[in-house]
């Protein structure tokens, strides 16, 4: 049955898959970064179709608006150029792409054939920010605190790694 939900799902899905394939096909990393941003925006649309409005907004703000900005910064800072083909990459392409294609077709066939036909309605589970907040602070409090410590560790690690290397002091002469 063709209904608006299916049409929107296919539209966002087509943009996501096109962006993913473009990430593989492009040689310059900046083009790959921009297609990845398109994938994330399309996925935010898919989350809205599933009713997860808060997750969709956070996906745009955090993933597409902060993490990918980091990637774009690093690409611009390091002046990454077009990557060249080496022997290893040719071997990987010859074996890797057909292998992945075969594997994903197999999984897709298995999922489509052997799963039940329950449908998911548009906006099936309204993910209101209030209920997500309650869950986050009551049942999932321990993972929440651990992830905050994880972010602290990541900040310290990034600051230490990206600072200029200190010159190793020479030993004093006896």
């Amino acid at each position: 049955m063709i209904n608006i939900h299916l049409i929107l799902f296919l539209a966002f899905g087509a943009v996501a898959v096109a962006g993913a394939v473009n990430l593989l096909a492009q040689t310059h990393p900046i083009n790959g970064a921009l297609s990845l941003i398109a994938v994330m925006a399309a996925l935010a649309g898919e989350y809205l179709l599933l009713g997860a409005e808060f997750v969709a907004a956070v996906q745009v703000i955090v993933y597409a608006g902060a993490i990918m900005v980091l990637f774009v910064f690093v690409i611009m800072l390091l002046n990454a150029g077009v990557e060249e083909r080496t022997k290893g990459s040719r071997v990987a392409i010859i074996f890797g792409i057909p292998g992945m294609l075969l594997g994903s077709l197999l999984i897709a066939w298995a999922v489509l054939r052997y799963s039940g036909t329950e449908s998911v309605a548009v906006g099936a589970l309204p993910g209101a920010p209030a209920t997500i907040g309650e869950l986050l602070f009551h049942e999932f409090l321990l993972p929440f605190e651990i992830t905050s410590i994880l972010i602290l560790i990541a900040i310290m690690g990034a600051v230490v790694l990206a600072s200029k290397p200190h010159p190793i002091p020479q030993g004093k002469e006896r």
């Binding site: 900046i30 907004a57 745009v60 703000i61 900005v69 774009v72 910064f73 611009m76």
Partner: protein
């Protein structure tokens, strides 16, 4: 509400709002030139039309007829796409901003002998319907607007543009955090992300005459954090090092001419207007104000109060531009991370404690 009426209303609202927004962008430029001129004890534009009111039109014609030069060494796809990204996302976030109470189209009984009945449909004065997470959408669109600046700086293949673009985007993402945190104080007090609910929570008075706007109701620090972070987000003085003429040639829009430069210009002023609209909704009470008079006046007065408050905020923007000098880049980043972020966290904690008791 039938689908055709909804689509028709949305299209009409989009056209009206877009037209008003673009005119407002042009006349904000005029207002800035006049106000900064008067602050510097000179007239602003006075020759083109009465009080220089046709100056934006003259500027628009100039931009249209300038030579649109594309330097040969730029990375063309991103060079053309960057101003488009900046403008599109600057104009998009106005879609969730509500301007007033919903307009009820019902049987008109003011001065007509035969009432025109379209049916009691309430058309909200917002391009979308009331989105549950309207505030988050505005934050998200602001986050994506950073790409316009970063990609413009990089694609121009010019070391001044690259530096200006990197500095501008680093500044924008640093102050986005304090911007978001200052909004959370308001969210705690209103209890919802929806902009309509936040405005409704600011209705009424306390002590009889002080309106219940969030700025008077305990969010003074939040308002000032929002103000400062908004100046940094829109790259205005005192935080406009990335586009200062005396520092980096012209920063990230050095290599742009004519219409593309005009698009960056429009994007900056449209961002200013959006930020002013959000500040009005969250801190200055939205469209709440004294309502009086006949039915037609009652329908228009909320929009008038909204526009008046946005105008006050824009005047504050221009006043600060004419008064303060520019921050150096390391001072700017130190201020954002070491002063504003702890202050915003403190504001959040204080608001949470106050509401919990």
């Amino acid at each position: 509400m039938p689908i055709w009426l909804y689509i028709l209303a949305s299209v009409i609202k989009s056209i009206i709002v877009l037209f008003v927004l673009l005119t407002a962008v042009a006349y904000t430029v005029w207002l800035e030139r006049k106000v900064v001129g008067h602050m510097q004890n000179r007239w602003g534009p006075t020759r083109v039309g009465p009080f220089g009111l046709l100056q934006p039109a003259a500027d628009g014609i100039k931009f249209l007829f300038k030579e649109d030069l594309t330097p040969p060494h730029v990375y063309k796809p991103l060079y053309i796409a960057a101003p488009l990204i900046a403008v599109i996302f600057a104009l998009t976030s106005i879609a969730v901003v509500p301007f007033g109470n919903p307009v009820v189209i019902g049987p008109l009984s003011v001065g007509f002998s035969h009432p025109v009945v379209i049916g009691p449909y309430a058309i909200p004065l917002q391009i979308t319907t009331d989105v549950n997470t309207g505030l988050l959408l505005i934050l998200g669109v602001t986050s994506i607007g950073v790409y316009g600046v970063a990609l413009a700086g990089w694609s121009s293949n010019n070391k001044y543009s690259l530096l200006g673009g990197l500095r501008a985007s680093a500044q924008m993402i640093s102050y986005e955090i304090s911007l978001g945190l200052s909004l959370v104080g308001v969210l705690i007090m209103a209890g919802s992300f929806s902009l309509n609910d936040i405005v409704k929570a600011q209705q009424g008075h306390f002590w009889g005459f002080i309106p219940r706007w969030n700025i008077f109701h305990g969010q003074v620090i939040g308002f000032f954090i929002y103000l400062i972070a908004a100046y940094a987000e829109t790259n205005r003085i005192p935080f406009d090092l990335p586009e200062a003429e005396t520092e980096l040639v012209a920063g990230y829009h050095t290599e742009y001419s004519a219409m593309k430069f005009a698009m960056f210009f429009m994007a900056e002023y449209a961002n200013m207007i959006t930020v002013a609209c959000v500040a009005t909704l969250l801190f200055l009470g939205g469209w709440n104000g004294p309502i009086f008079g006949p039915y037609i006046l009652q329908a228009i007065l909320p929009v008038f109060w909204f526009v008046a408050k946005v105008f006050v905020f824009l005047f504050l923007y221009i006043w600060v531009r004419g008064t303060l000098p520019r921050f150096r880049y390391d001072q700017l980043m130190a201020f954002g991370w070491k002063f504003l972020l702890p202050l915003a966290l403190f504001n959040l904690l204080a608001t949470a404690f106050a509401v919990a008791w």
